[in-house]
């Protein structure tokens, strides 16, 4: 990654006068929701069910040359959750699950980013769901796609940590505690850097 990047910088320096787009370090800032996805898989009776958060917005500050200074913030509109069926969507909005009326959004705010090598990072941060804020961490890979950056990763969230599925749903016999979260965030470079 380091070698490739130095190469990139040298090329950029050469092209400085000709192609301002490639000049200097690019900073990715705007998450493009229509190109991004935050999906999840939960298990009920050991049957994997796919769902997704359809509405979210994100802010980044990611410069591949200075990943340690990167920041990320993602806000999810809980009214846009698709839990796999109309019946489930109605259920998870309720008090026992996300209690969407009282807690309309979930949020992740990064506190640190550690490079793991080969364009891979570990993002640590604070996750707030249903009014509870806990430390969270997730691996994320970075690649370029045209002028955009693509960050992909997956991690396991334990629903009980956030009180997601209380009362009759608290038992993990029907709906498992572990929920697999997958994300693909596509971010555009900061407009003022063009």
């Amino acid at each position: 990654m380091t070698i490739r990047h130095h190469h990139f910088l040298r090329l950029s320096a050469l092209a400085l006068g000709l192609a301002p787009l490639a000049a200097g370090a690019v900073e990715y800032t705007q998450v493009l929701p229509e190109k991004s996805a935050v999906a999840f898989t939960y298990r009920q009776m050991n049957v994997p069910v796919e769902g997704a958060f359809k509405r979210f917005k994100g802010q980044l500050s990611f410069d591949p040359a200075k990943p340690a200074g990167a920041r990320a913030e993602l806000e999810i509109d809980m009214a846009g959750v698709d839990a796999g069926s109309a019946e489930a969507n109605e259920e998870v909005a309720g008090k026992l699950w996300f209690n969407t009326r009282a807690f309309p959004s979930a949020r992740f705010v990064s506190t640190g980013i550690q490079p793991l090598g080969k364009d891979r990072y570990e993002v640590t941060g604070r996750m707030t769901i249903k009014g509870r804020t806990l430390d969270a961490r997730a691996p994320a890979s970075f690649r370029q796609d045209g002028k955009n950056a693509v960050f992909e990763g997956a991690f396991v969230l334990k629903r009980a940590d956030y009180g997601i599925g209380e009362g009759m749903w608290a038992d993990f016999g029907t709906v498992a505690n572990e929920v697999q979260i997958k994300f693909r965030l596509v971010a555009a470079p900061a407009p003022d850097k063009k």
Partner: protein, 180 residues
């Protein structure tokens, strides 16, 4: 062609095992579909699907047995139209015994819920998740079930008619303990 005088014990056991399992699974299906969402509902749906997969395999075995073992002949003097009607009902029932679980499996896939037999053996999803297809297959699953229910009633009614009106051995040969 020679027809045996009686059903094999295996054929009799398979008949009643499948009969009880179908009636049970059908009743559970009727009961579960408008339950409010709860862990219990998810469990019952899974049990219903496990039962359906098990029934499908049991029916395959039963069909193989049936092909290898001819049933006894119809009673002497049974009118031709009744023989034809009986054969048609039997064949359609066999077809439905396979089509009903198949339609349930496809419907489940189309609705986005994979079938995992006993929570252990995942069945492939032959169709992708698609709401319209899911609704169509649900209607098909229901229609096939009610057709089967009607045919089961006709089948049982015909057996009782043979026993009490015609006074032949059609019912008794499937219920040997009734034999005097």
């Amino acid at each position: 062609m020679d027809r045996p005088a009686a059903y094999t014990l295996t054929a009799i056991r398979l008949h009643w095992l499948v009969a009880v399992a179908i009636i049970g699974t059908f009743a559970v299906g009727l009961y579960m579909h408008d339950l409010p969402l709860s862990p219990r509902k998810l469990q019952i749906y899974s049990w219903h699907k496990w039962a359906g997969v098990s029934l499908f395999l049991l029916v395959l075995f039963r069909l193989a047995w049936r092909i290898g073992h001819r049933p006894p002949a119809e009673p002497e003097g049974m009118p031709a139209w009744q023989r034809k009607a009986a054969a048609a009902v039997h064949h359609t029932l066999y077809l439905l015994m396979l089509a009903v679980p198949l339609s349930g499996w496809l419907m489940s896939s189309a609705k986005g819920f994979q079938t995992v037999w006993f929570g252990i053996v995942p069945l492939p999803d032959l169709v992708a998740k698609n709401k319209e297809l899911g609704d169509t297959l649900q209607a098909l699953h229901m229609a096939l079930n009610f057709t089967m229910a009607a045919l089961v009633v006709a089948h049982a009614g015909a057996a009782l008619k043979h026993h009490f009106v015609d006074r032949d051995d059609v019912l008794v040969r499937m219920l040997p303990f009734l034999k005097k």
